[in-house]
Every structure is written in C-alpha cells, then in structure tokens.
Amino acid sequence: MPSNNYEYFLLMPYIIIGVGIVLSVIIEITTKKSEQILPWFSITLFFIASFYSLFNINQNFVLFSGMIEVGGSTAIFNFIFNIGAALVVLSSIDYLKKYGTYYGEYYILIQSSVLGMMVMAGSKDILMIFMGLELMSICFYVLAGINRKKLFANEASMKYFLLGAFATGFIVYGIALIYGATGTTSIQNLIENFAGYTSNIIFILGFVLLLIGFSFKIAAVPFHMWVPDVYQGSATTVTSLMSTTGKAAAFSVLIIVLSAAFSFNSPNIFRPYFVTISTLSMLFGSIVAISQFNLKRMLAYSSISHAGYMAIGLAAGNVYSVAGIIFYLAAYAFMNIGAFTVISIIEGENDSRTDLNSLAGLSTKNPVLAASMALFMFALAGIPPLAGFFGKYYLFIAAIKSKLTWLAILGVLSSVISVYFYIRVVVLMYFRDSTENFKIEVSSYSLSAVIISALLILIFGVLPDTLMDVIISVLN
C-alpha cells in the first residue's frame, strides 16, 4: 500500500481527466472560441492520460481501501479508452462543423464518459463498477441525441436510455443479491471465496443478473435489440465512441468480475452462459448484417458479431483468453473508429449517404479514403496480417486450449459469413462506378484520424507482439 501522497500520483490519469472536465466547463462558459479550443484541449488530456497510464503500467496497486486499481490491465484499458476517444474527437471537429451541431457539452460529455470507463476498468468493488457504468452510460444517452433536431437521434437517445435503464435495473438487482449472499461488495473477497459462494443459489442468481446487465452493454444477442437503432440514429462520431470504447469498458468489467471464475482452482460455472451468447451473437450478427444496406446499421450488426467473438474468450476463461480479449478490443476499437470516421466523412446532411451505395466508386473519388476503408473492412473480416485477424487467432487458441474446439469452428464459420458483407463494401468502392455525383470534402483532421487508425491496425497486425507482450506481461 503506497503512502497517501503517492496514491494521488498513481491516480493521475483520473485526476487529469476529472480536472480537465471542470476546466472544459469553465472554458465553455468564459470564451466564445470554445469550438476551437475544446477539441484540442480534450485531445491533449486524453494523450497525457493515456501515456501516463502506459508509462506507469508496472505500478500495479490497489488504492483507497480496495476500491480502485491502477496499473496492470487497467492501464491498457485506459490507453484504449483515451486513444480511442482522442481519435473520435479528432474526427468530430469537422463532423460537427459540417452539421452545425456543435454544442459545448459535446466534448465535455466525451471526457466524462471516458472518466466513467476508466473508473469501470479500474474498479475493485462492485459499487465502483456501478458508479463508472452510470457515469459512462448517462453521457452516452445524451451524446446519442446530440443532434437535437433530428428525429432519429431523439429516437436513438430515448431507446438507448430506456433499455440502458432496464439493463441498469438488472445490474443493481444483481449487486443487491450478491451483497445479500456475501455481505460485501469487494471483488477481492469475491475472488478469494468464489469457490465457496458457487453453492449459494442467491449468489449465482445475482451474478447472472449482473452478467445479463453487462451483456446489454457489450451488445450480445439476445440483449442486442437497442444496438441497430441506436448506432444508426446517433451522430456517427458518437456511434464510433459507443461501439468501441463503450464496449471495451463493459468487457473490462466482465473480465474483472469473472477473474474469480477464471482462476485455476474454481470451475468456470458461467461457461454455458457465455457459450450461448457467443454462439448466438456471432451467427445472428453475421447473418443479419448481410441484409443491411445502411452502413451504420451493417456495422451495428457487425459489432454484435464481434461481441460474440470476444465472448468466446469469456467462455474459454483462461489467461490466454483474457489477453486475447484485450488485444481484440484494442484492434476492434481502431478498426471500427476508422470505419465510422470514413462514414462520417462521406455522410451528407440529414443522414443522407450512409447507405452502401454512396460508397460506390470511392476509389476514384478519393483513393486514400477508399484504401483505408478497404483495410478496415479486411481487418474486421479477419484477414491476415491485419490486427483483426490476430484478435481472432488469440481467442481461437484460448478456445481450443479450453477444449471448446467446436466454438472456434462456429467462430470461423461465422467469419466466413461475415466476409460477404465486409467485402461487399470493397466491391462497391473499387468495382463499381459512382451512381451519385457528390464531392467528398475531406479535411485533414478526419483524414488523419483515419490514417492513424489504419497505421495502428497495420502495426498491430504485422507486429502483434508490440501489444501482446505488454498485455501478457501485465497479466502475469
């Protein structure tokens, strides 16, 4: 246990973002130029927080009487959240300008949601998890409806809120039951006494409710109903934040609460649950995505199937699978942010040009954009040597090690199905000529977000060890 002053040093990423939020509010109130200042201010905050976490990755401590953990895998999650959010902010600058929907709270809400995610990933107590989750979710509800004048955005926000509240209900009830059964909310206690608790039916019930609540958040079938509408209706940049970092945060919680079940001396009694949602999500997501003609909706279903792949890791439940999930989340975050940013560049007013056909002939209109989008699609489809492939590879290894070969086979079959709709995007961009005549205004900010994502995917793909070594060293 470090001394009190030192504790605050270790908490620096949280403090940076927290103080940043307050400063952002002040900036927003006092200057008229907040539209120019806030995005860069946020990006600076995110960068400092992410690199601070990364450089202190080995300082693994539990602080505040077992409430929050710093360093270790938390640091990696913080890195994913912050870099992801920075990319989203970078792509938002032009997007908001294009639609004239800039409101000062946009960036502040993004910062707050990132703080929520960081609390989730670091929590060592179920109540902390809940606090972080609500901080993140409430920001997302508002962000989903940030295009106030748009009917679809309002619908998305409302739907997200109602179903999110529903999920929260599950989680709270689950926490209550767990507390009732164990008399504590400490995760450390859970891990130590897990084997004893598994015979307690109330505990199991509470835990399953907790898992169901988070299954909503990771967008797994059968708790996925909100996903397509919300992803489609929200502003594209918001969708890219929700679908990547939001999902990563929910997975970080699942990894934390399940770490007890993953340890060697206790059985992974939740395996049937995760096998089920993983199978359903993979197949449902991939199959339904085929019939989608709206890009954002298609990526929403793809997001469902990716949740399924990652749930393979939860079902397998060993060290490799946790490493695999973290790697996959990082890869997925950059693939998806890249893809959504491309959509946000092409998108026209009033949700026009978000359908597949608007990509037709992109390779002649803007070769760089088309090449990056193709890269993201191939990466999402899991073609080597791109980051998405290694994510799947690590998870399949974990599954086979846990004698879940059939689940890995289902995973590859659903990958084959998903190839169809991912390469359809490439078909349109490269093999067809444009049907609509519109000019794509590519600004350097959005384009740099796309290119950074593309580079990260290439780096994680060609040299997966750059990330994997860090993850494995942390988990050991």
Binding site: F396, S415, Y420, F431, P464
Partner: protein
C-alpha cells in the same frame, strides 16, 4: 543453424517493388509497366541463383532463414526450400514477368493499381511456397487473396463481381477451417513437445502422433482447404467463373500458380503431417480425382467459350496431379510435381493465346471464329504447340507428367487397383478430343466470319517474346525432363519415407 538471406531477398523484391509503385504518378503508365517488369525480372534472377545454389541430392530444406516474429506464440519468420518448392518458386517468378508483358496493351485502366496488385500477389505466392512455419504459410495463403480479388474484380469481365466474391468466399471457407486445425495442432504440440509451436519441421514429428480419430478430422480440414484451391471435383465450381471473368493476366496467374498452391499444400502438409489419414483416405480422394479428370474433360468438350474450355481442362489436369500425389509412389509424386509445372506452362500459354484473340476481337466464343489459319498463320502454329503440350503429346512436357503419374498409380501399393489408372488414362484421350476439336473449329476450314479479316492481325513481337520462353520449357521438359526430375527426386523420396515410416502397419 546457418542463415541464408537469399529467400528473404526474393520475397522482399516484389514487396518493396509494390510499395515503390505507389510513388509513381498515375499517368506514367509506360514507366510503371517497365518498373513492374523490371522488379519481376529481378525476382526471377534471384530465384535462378537459388536454383544454381541448391544441393539437389539433399532432401533437407535449404536457404533457411529464421527470425523470431511473434514471441508470445513462438511463431518465427521461417523460410526455406527443397527441390519441390524451388521448382514452384521458379514457375512463379518465371510466369510473373511474362504476365506483365502480356498486359502491355490489354490493361489500360489503372495500371498503377494493377502493377501494385500483381507484385503483391507475386510476394504472396512466393511466401506460400517458401514458408516453413504453418502460421506464416497461412498468412501468405490468405493475404494473397486480396490482390487476386482485386485483379478479378477490377479488370475482369462482365460478371466479375460475382466471380471475385465467389472466389474469395470459397477460399476463405476452406482456409478458416484449416486455421482451426493449425491451432489445434499447435496446442497439441504444446502438450507433447512442451511448447506451443507452428514450426513445420517440428510438427512433422508431432502430426503423425495425433490420435487417429482426431487426425482424420485435421487431415479433413487441411485437405478441404487445399482441395478447394486445387480445385478438386466437386469443389471446383468457383474456378470456371473466376477464370472466365478474370483478365488474361489473372487467368494465367490463377491457372499457372494459384492452383498449384493447393496441390503444393497437399504435398507439403497433408502427406507428411497426417500420413495415416492420408493413406486411409487415399483411395477415396483418388476416386474424386479420377472423377474430376473425366468430368472436367467431358465438360470441356461441351463448352462454346474458349476460356471456359481451358478452365474446365484445368479441373481435368489437376485431377491427374491429385491422383499422382495420393498414389504415393516416387514416380507418381514426381510426376505430380512435374505436372504442376506443365499445367502452369501449357494452360498459361493457352490462356495467353485466348487472350491474344480476345484483345483483337473481344470475343471468346468458338463459333465466332473459323479458318483463322489463313489469316494468322503464325498464331495458328503457336496455338497448335500449346494445345499439343496440354494434350500430352510425347516429346512435349504434358506427356512426361501424365505418364509418370499413370505408371505410379498403376503400381501404387496404397491404391492397390488398376482401375484408377485405366479410368484416368481416358482423360488423356478426352483431352485430345476437346482441344483438337476446338482447334479445328477455330483454326481450320473457311473463314466464316468476314469481320475477322479486319480484326485479326498476327502475333506481334511482344506476344512472341511472351510465348517463346514458355515453349522453350515445354520442349525442354518434354525432351530432357531429367533437369527437373533430378530436382524433385530427393524431396519426393523423403516425403514418402515420412509417410511410410508411420504407416508400415497400415499398409500390411
């Protein structure tokens, strides 16, 4: 272990070349074409250095270069060749510059991207043939899908999108199941060897010890992936579509090299990794191969489209290769490898020649032509040689491969039946029927179509430069096959030894 960088240079040449292409201006078409040609020629020269440096009697992998790549999974960049893979490497580097030359006029649209794709594709194909780590092999195997997909999809014919997507999904389906088998094998290796590995030379020791029931499944997963690529009947349906819709250059590479990746995979992975299952399933697979030989030939006969005819003839010819591999005698295996090369040369030449006509008339249907011997005599002669080579006329290359395969399968202890040989031999006869019949309808007789007189011009110098090197090898293999057989003998024997050493009980 002594490291040798030759293969790495060979692999890097097209990769660096393809990256450099991106820095050219789009308008500099001529320069880009010349650059692509130059890069592929450099690759050819490097592979020739490999040929002259190879110890031909040594069945071990040579020119080995191993660098740790992904430490967490014990995967290394591990390359090396033996005689069999070197021959296929030579085929690849030999055909690629010719393909570049053949597209000089045919490809006008987006030359830069085409050159990029073709060089990238060459790198992928070379990678497949030289990888000695299954994981690395898989990466190249999949990565090479992307450029081929673009080549079919962008520069292809009318139904190119359908063909490209079908090609992609078929291949992906097989290879992903193979991925599961690869992981399973590596995980199994970690229980017997004590560490997770995808190193091929180590897995050669592990594979045969896998329990029989599971080995059959893994053999199935590998086999399915390769059989789709070969393609073996009844998994061949993507091939005619892809061939017909691909541009000439795409067809040449597809027939010449890509299909060989499937048969190469059978030789390199299926036989030595899972010898018991390979022996067990050999008769069944040979039946499919023979069906493929006859079916491909019969369907070829019924075609009205020249390109489709050549495409189906590939199904037939590759049936021979698969039969040769699974007959598992030294003769048949060597014949199979030679036949891979032969098919690359003959079918490559046929596709090029169909492309020559297509460039002038934009028609591929046989009925459109007739009596062109009078208009383009040189072309008629060249097409004759290519057809005869594909038929397997003694003195030309096709004969050597088919003869060795038939002899080998005749006395094969694994197949243990004459019927395979008897039925397969009919394929040779059918080949004569469909090719000569096509030749007769296109070349002989009266000029039925007046338009042809304006459209057709004889082979020009560039086209002759493309086709003559192929003919040199067609005759070389036909007259003095020893140059090539010597290269494969040691490796073929060592693969069969591996199979025999694990299946002694099985054969008795």
């Amino acid at each position: 272990m002594k490291q040798n960088l030759l293969l790495t240079y060979l692999l890097l040449t097209p990769i660096i070349g393809s990256v450099l292409v991106l820095f050219f201006k789009k308008e500099q078409k001529r320069l880009i074409r010349l650059f692509g040609l130059a890069v592929s020629l450099v690759a050819f020269i490097i592979s020739l250095i490999g040929y002259f440096g190879l110890e031909q009697n040594n069945p071990q992998f040579q020119f080995i270069h191993q660098v740790v790549w992904i430490k967490s999974l014990n995967i290394s960049y591990f390359v090396g060749v033996d005689g069999i893979s070197l021959l296929l490497v030579l085929l690849t580097t030999f055909l690629t510059p010719l393909t570049f030359l053949s597209t000089w006029k045919a490809i006008e649209k987006n030359v830069k991207m085409f050159t990029f794709s073709l060089l990238f594709l060459e790198a992928g194909m070379l990678g497949v043939f030289i990888s000695l780590d299954i994981f690395l092999f898989y990466i190249f195997w999949e990565a090479m899908l992307i450029p081929m997909y673009f080549i079919i999809g962008i520069w292809g014919g009318e139904r190119r999108i359908y063909a490209a997507v079908k090609f992609f999904i078929f291949t992906m389906f097989g290879s992903l199941l193979m991925l599961v088998a690869i992981i399973w094998l590596a995980v199994y290796a970690s229980s017997t060897l004590g560490y997770f590995t995808t190193n091929l030379t180590e897995l050669y020791k592990v594979g045969p010890t896998v329990p029989h029931q599971i080995q059959a499944w893994m053999f199935g997963a590998f086999f399915l992936s390769f059989a789709i690529k070969v393609p073996l009947f009844p998994l061949h349906t993507w091939l005619p579509d892809a061939h017909v819709e691909a541009p000439t250059a795409g067809s040449v590479i597809l027939a010449g090299v890509l299909l060989k990746m499937g048969t190469y995979g059978l030789v390199r992975f299926c036989l030595p990794l899972f010898p018991q299952s390979a022996v067990q399933f050999a008769p069944l697979i040979s039946v499919l191969a023979v069906i493929g030989i006859i079916y491909g030939a019969l369907v070829s006969m019924a075609q009205t489209d020249m390109k489709k005819l050549v495409a189906y003839s590939s199904v037939s010819h590759l049936g021979f290769v698969v039969l040769g591999i699974f007959a598992m005698t030294v003769e048949s295996l060597q014949g199979a490898v030679i036949q891979m090369i032969n098919h690359g040369l003959s079918t490559g030449a046929l596709f090029l020649l169909v492309g020559v006509l297509y460039e002038r008339t934009h028609r591929r249907d046989i009925a459109y032509y007739g009596g062109i011997a009078k208009l383009v005599p040189l072309y008629a002669a060249v097409l004759m040689i290519a057809s005869l080579s594909s038929i397997g006329l003694p003195g030309l290359n096709g004969f050597i491969g088919e003869f060795l395969i038939l002899i080998g399968s005749f006395k094969s202890p694994v197949l243990n039946s004459w019927w395979f040989t008897i039925f397969a031999a009919t394929g040779v006869i059918f080949a004569a029927v469909y090719l000569l019949w096509m030749y007769q309808r296109v070349v002989f007789g009266q000029v039925t179509n007046e338009e042809l007189k304006h459209e057709l011009t004889d082979m020009n110098l560039r086209e002759m430069i493309v086709i003559v090197p192929i003919f040199i090898f067609i005759v070389w293999i036909g007259v003095y096959p020893n140059t090539f057989l010597k290269l494969t003998e040691a490796s073929a024997q060592s693969i069969l030894q591996q199979v025999e050493s694990f299946t002694m009980n099985f054969l008795k």
